[in-house]
Assembly symmetry: C2
């Protein structure tokens, strides 16, 4: 026997593990041990650690030495605890075998219940329980699950039917019954034999009757499931390293299916959708746990707080004693864990057992409310509250909702399973959702029920609609986790996968038809519905205030219009970090002047055209400065190559020629002359401004005239003029000279003082490498991490889609570096740029204005690197604020 | 008076300066002082230091305080030395005023002779010398030069006539004479008055009669000339910093124009074209120095060694006494400076004066021969000899010469002014040369004579042909410096700028006609002439052997064919640093197979096509390995994006469709699908190999099969397989796995052992930044500095031409970073890559295979950075070898 401990025993007040041992025991195993330590009634069992999983995969799917002995020893302790014997027909001990990784991967992993059973043991169980139907139902369930999971009879293509379900359906039809529960003991016996025959036929082997063989088979299946396709997919989507492995929990069975004094259920200690402090859950009488989660029968509410229909019978009403005990336990658990818990329980013949507790998944709104409430309840402090909400989640709260005043043709109402508003075209299969979404379509995934195989399609869908399943069904849990709007259990629907139709009454929706879902009300609406900006709750405001008090990093926004600036300011933006001026060039008559400039043969011609642009640009800047009064506004001078302003289609070129009064040939010649092989690396950014200083001059003039005019009106303006694509100090020096000369002239003309700065983007690798030199000319730096990522990796963002997807799928890259900053490569340049820049100017203001400014992980990096601010799109401003606070809490340095 | 010393006096044995003070006194001033120290007869004078020039430009064109007093003091000392007085008609002292920068800038700067003269002084001079014609000729020359240079009457557009020349021409016509020397004293007096009138007319001011005013005017003009266009241009071409400034040398005039016992000349202490140890020079009787250099009269040889025509009278014959003295002096100077000298002298009434000495410009062949000879003469050591030859110069020796067996229609013969062979199309103006060359045309610049304004055109011309001027004329000196082939003084030509024609006898050549020049024989040849590889001299071999003994850095070559490999090996390449495999894909039938692969729908289809390519590739590698037997050969796997292998013109697409038996639409669809916005940053390099591992597999197989076959034949092969465009360790790991698996399979199949390595290009910035990680997988690194430069600067090499030229012209960049490695930016990444790579693998072999591998400055950088080798194109291998030796001498570390 090796020195290493692989197996951890647990029973009430006798656990070898504890909550802190999640990495080793997985979340489920650690929490089972912790509940035992708290004296909560937990059926005894043992956990095989995640190290066994890792060793198993490292060692060519072989178990480590000594494991078998440890399992036997732990099993003996469980037998002693339970006073039963595994494999003993006279007093049998059955087990559930479940996976349990460090972080919850709902429905991703395989589970086997009622293990340790065969015909002889079933008979013994029947005798012992006095309930042969229960015994045979348990055996039937075991053979089916073991056949599916361990013996791999579950069809890979989920549209194919499960062979066992086929047999059951046939049996029900033969017997003329509708529900499984209507089948007799005899029927169940027959089913078992038919199942076994099917297994023999498909695998060529007899069903294993030996309980020990069953146990090792199930353990192997759990470890095996760690590497199945849907688990790998889930880990990719959720960035879980495959090295973490899963633990296996072997736990004594308790039976919710022994009769009407039995039940099984799941509950949340607070409402996972709203965060409201109510005890919230569902249960099924005479059932096993899988029945609730799978959404096959529609469960009942555990108490009146979520009762929506008088016909419903709550657990509180039906079994008041165990319910009361459950309430005490949930309070104890929430108080102990200081977080909202997601619990599973089973009541066997009136006795309550806890099968799981874990921190519950929740919507963003719930996360915010629970965090704020718990501070007010004195359970947690503000820092903890701020850490409790995943910044990325806030996105759900910030995006538009349906306009309450809009006409809505509600065709059905289901459960409000995951909040939000979604409009899209109907698809009926996850694969179709992925295909359509890849083409840029907004889709609503409509399913009878969802299953883990649908994960990819659920991820890309704007909303999810199911016909069956409750608030804790697969669809609901997963959708809330993803922040995707979901309406579940909408029984009025009739879905035909075959015809690709969904009927509601006599209305038929076909694939591709538009519908809208309101995940906050459960409404299913015909067609498209207009949306409005959300109103943010008081809880949200409180939490963000705490975040603002904590964070060191400023948060600005990328905004090119007064409207965007206003939205962002309402979301808490502390200035503009990037105002792109080129977008303004496309509007209305402006493009004509821009094209006139491009066609001009000489500087004089260009100046004439630029004269026409000046008033437009001045007006743009006036509006933006006003919207951001009192806050800094960073404006980038013209960045894209000039050919972007010319039409490329023959027809449009003809149009342009006519409009400009030149020949088509002239237009074509100019387009040809400006054509570039790699425009990304071509004549753009400050390279343009150096070749055509008159463009920079016009822009500087427009900025400064607008600023001066506003100062005269008493508005505070802080323009920061930013030169793009600088790679050498000399470039910045050149453009700065143009800007300063113009600015000083305007200030003199207008006779007011404006406090302006001239700085540069750091977006070319060379700029970061020589930041000490560039800082001699720069009054601020702003990292343009989009371009910096393009050049540091050598990836054209427009072209990289082809291989980036593949790179991520193959694990060559962990993330899309355009979404989350590549800290080890691009990040080095950012760090270097900051350090070198501040070597030259100790107090150099440094920000980031790539899209990474709104990515929480990248925000933490920016905090650690000592940046002054991040700048991101308006809707991501709160996300960045929260991420910045979390960064400060984690890295207070 | 300030503490600073600005003015340095010199006179025989009494100089305040010395040769080492070049930075302060300029080359000319320092050497005048040094000659004085050596007791060589030098007319006394003084040097105003370069610090005055720098101060002058820093201080808004104002002289520093105290300068005037120092000049007056120095002037007084010269007066005392000469026993004459500046401005004294009874015993006048005249001066020459010349520029003199740290490094020689021939013909770039302005000069004024005979300064300190007016009508009264002229009369005094006439009386004193008894030679009124000389006195008035001196005054005439002064007014003309001062008018041109100081008063700026010289036309900017050199096609416009000099106003003074117009007056002279008219005078000569009026007098019915042909030569200046035929004009009488009276004529010269009239000319002076007409010149003065012209000056009054053009400038509105009287000609300055005050000698002191003349002196300060001339000094100002010299400083002013430092910033004139042609000086700026010259500095750019020769990478001379403008901060260096120029000194001004004010030197007592000696007169070569006092009569037939007077002369002036220039000479080289060895033949500057061949390096042969002969005293080599030209002189003119009764002339001033400018007359020789300007090429107006054709000078005579100083001795019989270069006498080509019995009618010539040598200086040795004409004035044996001063000639003998000159010989003694040149020997003394060469021995003192330990280098070939370029000297200027004037003989005034039989007395010899030295006006200048400097290290002489020379051809590459001469540089090599002189260096080797001087070692053999015991003058210098081998390290000094190796340092004496500019590596870049070797280019002249290595490029093809005219095939001696080719039929050549020689139409004229001029002076063999600068060796080499050139074929090109005739242009008559420097601007045309630049324009045509920009369009990719090879041009021969044909001029009556060249002048400093022509420098741009001379730089781009393949060859230069002049009608007038000797071996030391502007055209000859500049062409030798540039290593451009030049035939000078070809008097048989009749050139008409007007008609853009060149007549030779009754043959007329027009602009655009093809001619060929042989700069080593002086032949002008009609049409194009085929070239052959040059034979390298024994001196060359000796020098290169010394270089090889010294250098630490290995030199490999970039070669894609057995022929290139063989050429490079003959030039001393020690292996192949880069063999690009994609060029092989275009030849013959291969492109068809490549296209078949691209059109294939699946891996099986691609494999079928790749099967067809395999034997071709194997054959390629077989030949290359064989040519490089015993040396390492680095082969890069496929690098360019696949669309480069598809036709883009309709017509060619149609052709391809027919050839491949597919529809035109299919071809077009594939072209469209593969189109990229920025191919440089797209799906290429290892990204292709990762998507289509079968391509890498085929290439690895071809390499290893060829290697194994050769090993069986007893040939030593060292394949190094190199993965391009790696940015992450995972990419290299992926491709290395494919290569190693294939290689091991081939080795097993063939049953022989081959020692192969797998490494990577470091050409993406991220690769350099994470080189420590990448080195875990790499067995060697090779810096691809072309791509690394593109990405570090964000410059697409295909597009950057538009702004790079401007950047260099405006001083935003000092050099084209694609030609000479940007050490402060890209170089940091190289350094980082080396350091980080060797952190992981102490002995990691690191090379460079960008074009920078053949750039001498970059080679020095590579040496300093600790690279193991550089790799460059075959013809640059000797250049790199020499540069590597010089690096070792300079930085022996």
């Amino acid at each position: 026997m090796s020195d290493k401990k692989y197996v951890y025993f647990f029973a009430a007040n006798k656990a070898e593990g504890k909550a802190e041992m999640k990495n080793l025991l997985g979340g489920k195993g650690a929490n089972l041990a912790e509940m035992c330590n708290l004296g909560v009634p937990v059926p005894p069992g043992f956990t095989i650690s995640t190290e066994v999983c890792t060793a198993y995969y490292e060692n060519n799917r072989q178990y480590p030495e000594g494991l078998e002995e440890e399992v036997k020893a732990a099993l003996a302790k469980v037998e002693e605890e339970q006073g039963k014997k595994f494999g003993d027909p006279s007093n049998p001990l059955l087990f559930s075998v479940r996976s349990g990784a460090r972080v919850s991967m709902p429905g991703m992993m395989d589970t086997v219940l009622n293990l340790g059973i065969n015909e002889e043991i079933t008979e013994g169980l029947a005798k012992l329980s006095g309930n042969p139907r229960f015994a045979w139902d348990s055996f039937r369930r075991f053979v089916q699950m073991y056949g599916d999971v361990v013996l791999d009879l579950k069809p890979v293509n989920k549209e194919d039917e499960d062979p066992f379900e086929v047999i059951i359906e046939k049996k029900k039809k033969d017997r003329g019954v509708e529900l499984d529960t209507d089948l007799t003991t005899e029927d169940l016996k027959e089913l078992v034999n038919e199942f076994k025959a099917a297994i023999k036929e498909k695998t060529g082997k007899d069903f294993p009757e030996d309980p020990m063989e069953q146990l090792w088979g199930a353990v192997g299946a759990v470890f095996g499931s760690w590497m199945n396709d849907r688990a790998i997919r889930y880990r990719q989507l959720n960035e879980i390293p495959s090295e973490w492995g899963t633990a296996v929990n072997v736990q004594s069975m308790v039976f919710g299916n022994m009769g009407d004094d039995c039940a099984t259920g799941v509950a949340f200690t607070r409402d996972p959708a709203t965060g409201k402090k109510i005890f919230y859950g569902e249960y099924l009488v005479n059932a096993q746990g899988e029945d609730v989660v799978a959404g096959i029968r529609t469960p009942q509410p555990i108490n009146s707080s979520t009762k929506t229909d008088p016909s419903q019978v709550t657990l509180e009403e039906l079994m008041p004693v165990p319910y009361k005990e459950l309430v005490e336990i949930y309070k104890k658990l929430e108080h102990h864990y200081k977080d909202m818990q997601d619990i599973e329980f089973t009541i066997q013949q009136g006795k309550l057992y806890m099968l799981q507790t874990r921190n519950g998944k929740r919507t963003a709104a719930a996360a915010v409310r629970i965090a704020v409430d718990m501070v007010e309840e004195g359970l947690i402090d503000k820092n903890t509250a701020v850490m409790r909400v995943a910044p990325e989640q806030l996105d759900q709260l910030l995006h538009p909702m349906f306009d309450p005043k809009a006409e809505k043709n509600v065709v059905a109402t289901g459960l409000p399973a995951s909040p939000g508003a979604a409009t899209g075209r109907i698809v009926f299969h996850a694969e179709d959702a992925e295909e359509w979404a890849a083409k840029g379509e907004d889709v609503i995934l409509v399913r009878i029920e969802t299953s883990p195989e649908d994960i990819g399609g659920m991820h890309v869908a704007k909303g999810i609609l199911t016909q069956r399943g409750g608030m804790t069904s697969h669809a609901a849990v997963v959708a809330r986790g993803m922040g995707t709007c979901c309406v579940a259990g909408c029984g009025d629907l009739e879905i035909s996968y075959q015809d690709k139709t969904m009927k509601v009454g006599d209305k038929v929706f076909k694939e591709g038809d538009w519908i809208s879902l309101d995940g906050s009300t459960g409404q299913v609406i015909e067609g498209k519905v207009p949306t409005v900006d959300p109103e943010l709750s008081g809880h949200f405001g409180t939490l963000m205030q705490w975040a603002d008090d904590i964070r060191r990093l400023n948060v600005r926004t990328n905004a090119d219009t007064p409207h965007d600036a206003t939205v962002a300011r309402n979301f808490g933006a502390e200035g503009i970090g990037l105002c792109r001026t080129e977008h303004m060039f496309f509007e209305g008559d402006r493009i004509k002047a821009v094209r006139e400039m491009i066609l001009a043969d000489d500087e004089a011609g260009r100046r004439t055209a630029l004269e026409k642009l000046l008033p437009y640009q001045r007006e743009d800047f006036y509006g933006i400065f006003k919207a951001m009064s009192g806050l800094p506004v960073t404006i980038r001078t013209l960045d894209p190559p000039l050919h972007e302003f010319l039409p490329h289609e023959d027809e449009n070129q003809q149009e342009m020629a006519e409009e400009m009064g030149v020949s088509l040939e002239e237009v074509k010649a100019k387009v040809e002359a400006l054509h570039e092989f790699n425009p990304m690396l071509g004549h753009r950014g400050c390279r343009l401004g150096i070749t055509y200083p008159e463009i920079t001059e016009m822009q500087a003039r427009a900025i400064m005239e607008a600023a001066c005019d506003l100062v005269k009106e008493g508005v505070e303006v802080y323009p920061e003029i930013m030169i793009p694509l600088v790679g050498t100090k000399a470039e910045l020096k050149n453009q700065k000279a143009v800007v300063v000369a113009t600015a000083e002239k305007v200030i003199e003309e207008k006779g007011v003082q404006v406090d302006y700065k001239v700085g540069t983007m750091i977006e070319v690798p060379r700029a970061a490498l020589t930041a000490n030199e560039i800082a001699e000319e720069a009054e601020f730096f702003s990292f343009g991490t989009n371009d910096l990522t393009q050049m540091t990796f050598g990836y054209s963002r427009d072209d990289a889609g082809v291989f980036l997807k593949e790179y991520i799928a193959r694990g060559i890259l962990e993330n899309d570096p355009f979404q989350s900053l590549d800290q080890s490569g691009v990040g080095q340049l950012v760090q270097m740029g900051v350090e070198k820049g501040r070597q030259t100017k100790k107090d150099l203001k440094v920000g980031i204005c790539g899209e990474h400014g709104g990515d929480p992980k990248s925000v933490v990096f920016c905090h650690q690197t000592g940046l002054n601010y991040v700048s991101c799109s308006p809707y991501r401003v709160p996300i960045a604020r929260l991420a910045a606070a979390q960064a400060q809490i984690q890295f207070p340095g």
